[in-house]
Amino acid sequence: MSKAAIITDAIAYIEMLQKNVQDLSNQLFEMEATCEEQLETPMDAMDAAEEMKTWGIEPEVKVTQMDGTKLWIKIVFEKKTGGFTKLMEAMSVLGCEFTDTSATTSRGAILITACLMLYEVLEPY
């Protein structure tokens, strides 16, 4: 095949695939819209708490100050959907920013270790 023909075919194929993707997403979207609510599975929350108890993990919070405005923080708490985000929001409200973060989920609990940078001076409490 000639180069021009290959390029032409490639263009046509890509457009066709894009159209397919678009159609499928629309279809999926419609199905989602019209679909009734599936049975929710709120099992996760219950399981998480139970698991934590099973493994003997206790929620905890540990904070260490590193230097002037930096804190090191370690948190263990029960894993909930969206829990991480809530924590982040709370911290940002307090004026902290996560510089380096690590969050791991295991056995129903989530462990967060992070460096926090304070950009507001907090009243120690």
């Binding site: 095949m1 000639s2 032409t8 996560f98």
Partner: protein
């Protein structure tokens, strides 16, 4: 029928001038073969411009990778035209000889004669002399072992040329397929090319036609693309053209011929100049580039590479979406079934309650998707396997988007299990491992696009002065 022989039979060449056919049994020469219509033939055609089919047999010793174009010689009114068309030949015995269509069209232009001549010189210095001189045709014919073709007097200025694929390593004769030019009505003219050099028989048009017809991919009506043939295998009688790559291309004489179709249905692009052809090709490259979402560089190779990656990505996305739709539909059907069948709903209920609509789908198809999106400041890499989503995010250090991104991920109904990241040099880099919540049918491109959009919005919102 035809046998290859290593000997060149000069006697057959003599007959060329008479009946327009030349049998060239010998292959083993190292020099390119040159096929030319004897002038008497065309002269006999009267005023009709006769085209000479010239087959330029690439020199064995030439580096095949150099893609020497074939020369096509137009012979009009008894004069050997100086227009040559050199066909590019990719040599690989087991590969299809590419039919470079693009080389054909504009090359008939006389203006390109110089270029072509130059090419000829590159290929074979002595061709120049041969071509330009009518009287040297017999000499040429002696030297070259290409079968010659005769042009029918009926034939208009259309001309055909073939691609021959010379053997790199062996003396295997490349077989040329004689193509038949079409006259106006589209019927095959008497132009016959002897595809088989090794033929010791005097070529006869009917014989050639037979050969031609027996060619796998060639049609008598002037097939556009020749058959791809295994050129190593030449000793079979009836499959001579299986040796070597038979590619013949129809040559449109832009200057002479009107826009007559070649009868093959290929969209004929008629370019008046080589430049237009180049511009057209460049336009295509640009169009291709505009289709891919992450164009990196503007050179042709990168465009093609990006296009390849994008096509693969699109295929993955299509598969992913199909699986999702199936899942959704089955899940919905199942729940409907569950509602209507109360009696036997025991099992269904448990199935429904269990968050395992995936189970029935994991066997045949494991949902997987992977794509990347880049914007000016952000790079997103989303991978989905089954119900786990891995998101890698790298953003230029301006603002810490961790909070925003986490929110978005939650909105997409992804349950974050693992987050890691921080400031790395100039960038914030994060890795999110999350699980798709039940009932959600997000797909990879939706995730990627949403993330990019959110981050970009954030960049736009925050004034660039704040940075940590």
């Amino acid at each position: 029928m035809y046998e290859e022989s290593d000997c060149f039979d000069p006697n057959t060449m003599q007959g060329l001038s008479q009946d327009g056919f030349s049998q060239n049994p010998s292959f083993s020469m190292e020099e390119p073969s040159y096929q030319q219509n004897p002038s008497p033939e065309s002269a006999a055609g009267g005023g009709a411009a006769a085209t000479v089919e010239v087959e330029l047999h690439q020199q064995m010793g030439l580096d095949m990778a150099n893609m020497e174009p074939c020369y096509h010689i137009n012979n009009s009114n008894g004069l050997i035209d100086s227009t040559y068309l050199m066909q590019e030949i990719v040599l690989d015995s087991n590969h299809i000889l590419p039919y470079d269509h693009s080389n054909w069209d504009p090359n008939l232009n006389h203006n390109h004669h110089q270029d072509l001549n130059h090419h000829v010189e590159i290929a074979n210095g002595h061709y120049q002399n041969l071509i330009s001189n009518n009287s040297s045709i017999p000499d040429l014919l002696n030297l070259l072992h290409l079968p010659t073709c005769s042009t029918s007097s009926v034939l208009p200025n259309s001309s055909l040329s073939f691609l021959s694929q010379p053997q790199k390593s062996t003396h295997f004769p490349p077989s040329f397929l004689g193509d038949f030019t079409l006259n106006e009505s589209g019927t095959v003219s008497n132009l016959v090319h002897d595809p088989l050099f090794h033929l010791n028989l005097p070529s006869r048009p009917p014989l050639f036609r037979e050969l031609f017809q027996s060619l796998p991919n060639c049609s008598f009506g002037g097939g556009g693309s020749g058959g791809v043939v295994d050129e190593k295998d030449g000793s079979e009688g009836g499959r001579q053209f299986d040796n070597g790559v038979l590619q013949f291309c129809r040559d449109w004489d832009m200057n002479c011929m009107a826009k007559e179709g070649n009868g093959k249905g290929t969209a004929t692009k008629h370019f008046a100049t080589e430049r237009q052809r180049r511009e057209h090709l460049n336009g295509k490259f640009t169009a291709l580039r505009s289709l891919v979402p992450n164009p990196t560089k503007t050179d042709r190779a990168s465009i093609i590479g990006d296009a390849i990656e994008y096509i693969k990505e699109l295929l993955r996305t299509v598969n992913e979406l199909k699986i999702l739709v199936e899942k959704k539909r089955c899940g919905r059907d199942r729940s409907k079934r569950h509602k209507t069948e109360d009696g036997t709903s025991g099992d269904l209920e448990s199935v429904n309650k269990k968050p395992n609509p995936d189970q029935s789908y994991n066997g045949p198809s494991l949902r997987s998707a992977w794509l990347q999106r880049k914007s000016k400041d952000t790079e997103v890499d989303v991978r989905i396997i089954d119900d786990e989503v891995t998101i890698k995010l790298a953003q230029r250090k301006k603002i810490n988007c961790l909070l925003i991104v986490s929110k978005v991920i939650d909105e997409l109904q992804l349950d974050i299990h693992h987050v890691t990241g921080g400031l790395v040099g100039d960038n914030y880099s994060f890795l999110f491992n999350s699980k798709i919540c039940e009932g959600s049918s997000v797909y990879a491109s939706a995730i990627a696009n949403k993330l990019i959009e959110v981050v970009n919005r954030q960049y736009a919102a925050i004034p660039p002065s704040t940075s940590y």
